[in-house]
Symmetry: C2
Subunit: 343 residues, 2 copies
């Protein structure tokens, strides 16, 4: 059975061209049905420019666009015919199995929360992103949905990430850590100190505080943090990777032996680039909303779009929502953690 994946063609720095190219790529490589949501004229002309048949896709006209700099709440409320709001509504009405957007993150979070609602027991949605480590993958949550996290939100992020890691990445009892400025329980913000205790006495495989240095070390499977901090962390990592890449090329080009060596290692460098390219890892998961929503990077190219669609299908293969509901209820309500963290 193939899934119906809605794709917002108006969102992202390189929309609509790269989004449509990503849809065409996905159509070739994945067996899913792709529903293109956006301005119909743009979709038609883009597909025509690639000599691609219209019949491969379903097209839903959504003439309005929410731009990247627009205030999320206001724009979601005002632009009912935007690709983001239309996509979230179609998902709610079960006319889609999943919705993928590389548009304004705040608007995608807002529209999804508003249209789909939250999974029973969940307080706030969180954006979880898989990051490459040397030997595998770490999941970091939240990277930008919630920039003023309360302790209960952070605790629930840990639960949701562990469920995903277990079901989708196949690891029993994945480790959960709290991003802080020191490994010691006494360090960092007061809010994190209390949370530390609740995590410790929960059934989660909690390994304590995690220093930011260890985000990519593979030391922890599920990394929990506030959305403001997670967003900063992610963008610093991107920026430093870019800068390091430039430094590296500058250095390698120096001298004759450097230039010759560069020719010899060219393919190795391409493999290296692939390993650290975010586009290879697809989109981020909006966990906590009652439906499968994938948020692609604003700078997504066609490869990233295709991989975001792949991530959606992986999430659809398991019943994440039911399991999150069960675990949130079990860990958060029954144990009294909710009372402790909100009192």
């Amino acid at each position: 059975m193939s899934y119906k994946i809605g794709l917002d063609i108006s969102g992202g720095d390189f929309a609509p061209a790269e989004i449509i190219k990503g849809a065409i790529l996905a159509r070739k490589e994945l067996a899913e049905e792709i529903v293109l949501i956006g301005r119909e004229d743009e979709i038609r002309s883009q597909l025509a420019s690639h000599n691609h048949s219209l019949q491969d896709f379903t097209i839903i006209d959504a003439p309005e666009k929410i731009l990247m700099h627009e205030q999320p709440v206001t724009s979601v409320r005002r632009k009912k015919n935007s690709s983001i709001v239309v996509g979230a509504k179609l998902l709610k009405e079960k006319k889609l199995d999943a919705f993928v957007s590389c548009g304004n993150t705040g608007a995608v979070v807002g529209a999804s929360t508003l249209c789909l609602g939250l999974i029973e027991g969940v307080e706030r949605p969180g954006i979880a992103l898989a990051l490459p480590t040397r030997d595998g993958v770490s999941l970091i949550i939240d990277v930008g949905a919630n920039i003023d996290c309360k302790p209960l939100h952070l605790f629930q992020y840990g639960i949701m990430a562990a469920v995903y890691y277990n079901l989708v990445l196949g690891k029993k009892d994945p480790s959960v850590g709290l991003l802080n400025i020191g490994e010691e329980a006494t360090k960092g913000l007061g809010i994190l100190k209390n949370l530390h205790e609740v995590f410790s006495s929960s059934p989660l495989n909690f390994i304590g505080n995690l220093e930011a240095r260890d985000i990519f070390s593979g030391k922890c499977d599920c990394i929990v943090c506030d959305g403001f901090i997670g967003n900063i962390a992610l963008k610093v990592a991107e920026g430093s990777a870019e800068t390091i890449g430039r430094f590296l090329l500058d250095s390698l080009k120096e001298g004759i032996s450097g230039k010759l060596g560069l020719l010899l290692v060219k393919n190795n460098l391409l493999r290296f680039k692939k390993k650290i390219d975010y586009a290879e890892y697809g989109g981020a998961l909006l966990l906590g909303v009652d439906g499968v929503v994938i948020i692609g990077h604003g700078r997504s190219n066609s490869l990233a779009v295709k991989n975001a669609i792949r991530v959606a299908t992986e999430e659809l293969k398991i019943d994440l929502t039911a399991e999150i509901k069960r675990r949130i209820n079990e860990i958060c309500q029954d144990s009294g953690a909710r009372q402790i963290l909100t009192s």
Copy 2:
């Protein structure tokens, strides 16, 4: 005239061995007088193991150690004979011109603030660190002194960083940016939105919000942020550089042409490593306290220690304290910014 630089030999992950090696390096390369502060027996045996004459250094016995995980405020209050507290006191008594420590950051900040006091008008000290960009250097403040920054603290960090950048790095009207999760003024935490307006109407060369991706791009000279966020940003950058380095070596070693190429680019890779090695950039500046205090990285090796001492001498060559006092007064008090930000 040579300066008297106090060096804490008990602080840092590789103390005392690497600290003493750094002191010997500095003694060879810089003309300053170095005062070694720590356990006298350790200092003597370390110097002996390097066959180094005791006469090159002044030794101050400070038998207590504040360990890396100790709670800063308590340890500073209790361990009066620790290298950190003794160093800060000697600086206050003008028996030193500057103090350099790679020890417990919170304890160095606490002891310095307590012993030296703050520059008139300054509300909180901040740790400023110079980061390499492709074409120069950016200064980021705060990277860990103050994990609960008020708007006024952030505003003053911008003023202090601009003074340093101007006097030490020789750039008139350096640009000042506010680290946030989006470039648009409407994005991010509420506290940053108000601050944005005060910065905009100040005489500083304020360029607005800065995305974390741009920390290393060279887009902004002085990057202002909360100490919690700055610390996370810094450690993410370190962690991603480490991971990228490992990915790179793994990739380069693959195949025969890769191995051959690796031999040819070896020297280029060493130059590249030097360019991104924090040890080359020395220590961070504790701005706002009434004296020259340099905080080295906890993982400092001898090269980093030597460079931290070099950074201290650079700061001593100019009268930073007087200029910070003048500018804080001019920009912060006279303009009414203090009233606006604290009301």
